[in-house]
Amino acid sequence: MLGTTTKEPSRSVLAPVRAVFRAMVVTVVPEAKQLDEPGWLAVEALVEDALEFRPRALRGQLQLFLRAIEWLPVVRYGRTFTRLGDMQRSRVLRYLQDHPVERIRCGFWGLRTLAYLGYYGRREGAHGIGYRPDPRGWEAVQSR
């Protein structure tokens, strides 16, 4: 019998880790620094929607991974991730991206995917890079 664990809506994943999530997003997509509060809420809504029906364990792992990102730099830089400068944040994420342990690389891949989903999944994010699809196709191009 199929279980129903993936079909239970969840509570917010990002709320307890919002600051480090936003710090991660602006490191992954530097343009995100220009986001205003409604823009951030739109980014986070897309991410929460994508996570809503994922297994509870995966949502927990995500929070854990973000917390690890926040505290990992204390060992090397004496400061948490959210208090680091751009260069140092990039170094921390690059370390995770190229980590010798595959599971850690996968964890970071998942986070950066969510950052891209939130930023470029918005209509404003897509329009900002010049992507303007039109169902009319060639006809729309000719009428411009």
């Binding site: 279980g3 169902p135 060639w138």
Partner: protein, 506 residues
Amino acid sequence: MKRRSYARRSFDIVIIGSGAGGGTVAQELSPLCRDGVRIAVLEKGPKLRDEEFNGREVEMATALYEDGGGFLTAEQTMTLAFGSAYGGSTVVYTGTSLLPPERVLRRWNVPGLAFADVEQRARKYVAENNVHLLDESLLNENNRLFVEGCRGLGYRVQQFPVNLKGCRGSSLCNLGCPNQAKRGTDRVQLPRAERNGVEVVTRCEVQRIENKKVFARVSEKREGDKGERSTWEPGDYEIDAKVVVVCAGAVNSSALLLRSGFGRSLPRLGRGFTSHPAFIMVAEHDRPITNSVGHPKSFYLDQFAESDHFLLETCMYFPFITAKAMVGFGEEHSRFMRAFPRLQMILVLACDEVDDHNRVTVNGDGRPLVHYRFTPAVIHGLVQGAITSAKISFAAGAVRAHVPVSYAPTIERADRERLDQIAENPDFKPGKLSISAAHLQGGCAMGSGPEDSVTDSDGRVHGVPWLYVADSSLFPNSLEINPYLTIMALADRVAETVRKDMNAAL
């Protein structure tokens, strides 16, 4: 424990899934309805109304794909994209329609499966689905640059036959055509089957099959969901069926049969999974090109399939998928994204072979788990494919390329000689690279008996005379090309077998 109550239904034939396999079987068996045969198609996904296809990336991916197109393998190093809607993956493919390759079918060596028969059946769907080559005037620059680059390097580039009718060039094929121009099963075979009397039930997920009974759950349409409500009330159903044809796709067909207990007598069930693992090579030109308009996948290059295990295809994806597909982050990544209107894209697909590790299983909840590791041949194929793609783009005039298997992925035109060095020392780290697959095959392979396969060459499950499989899970090894026409040809064979077997039983 509270006992679940099941609503009862009864059919002569139940078809599970409505994609290239299920839609074809439904159409081919539908004339039997005139003789009073009751046929149902049970589809897990919704049926969208025409006006709901709006081309918005996240919205449409969520509505039309399993897990929004991001179904992760057990190792979490690859995502699988497969449709979950009325019409299955034929709603979200690009309509590329290649005939099965003779060399591959000969290599499959399935007793009773003749290449000529499969090819003849595939040609029937070439005609039925309006498969043709797009007129040159409809080709965009993303495709033309691929052709130019390939020809400049002396490669044998070929044009994809596509199953379109009334294509306006929205370039939104992978999000469901907003102009209903693709001749998928949602537009051709299923409507015909319904006109003939087949009942199609959407939002209906089959949970298990037991001795000519199908147990399924119909889900409610949630607020904000796209698509029509199911014609059946939400709830649990016990459906009697004289014949069951499983066409739920390579992942879900294997998983359904495994959680129904058929793995005990069929040790090969779920095994032999292949998928054409793929990633995107992106290159930037110094001027805007037509890329997000026109059919996205008009050409391919298969001359390296045998020697280096890769295929190249033109492609054009959407902002989120493109961002995800490129390796890395930060300013270097953003620079390519900001160049979106100047981007050329090539899809690199590895021709993978059956490997013992790569298989479908189910977890404790009965949900599918796909185990997949990249073999040395697949890694070689992806690396060589990425390098070849970058060379093609540079030959077509690109100013820089994003080569995902390089530690420093941005390669400037002036440094293109470095590409061969990258091939010798690639940076291929699973979990770092974004690898995705959409040609999911195997798991219920055809063969001679239960020791080497799950079905015979006509899709009959070994030892279970009322149970058939008719989808890409039948493939005993990778097809090495886009699979839809071959799936339809095999489904056509299975439908004919079902008819013959039913007649023989009467």
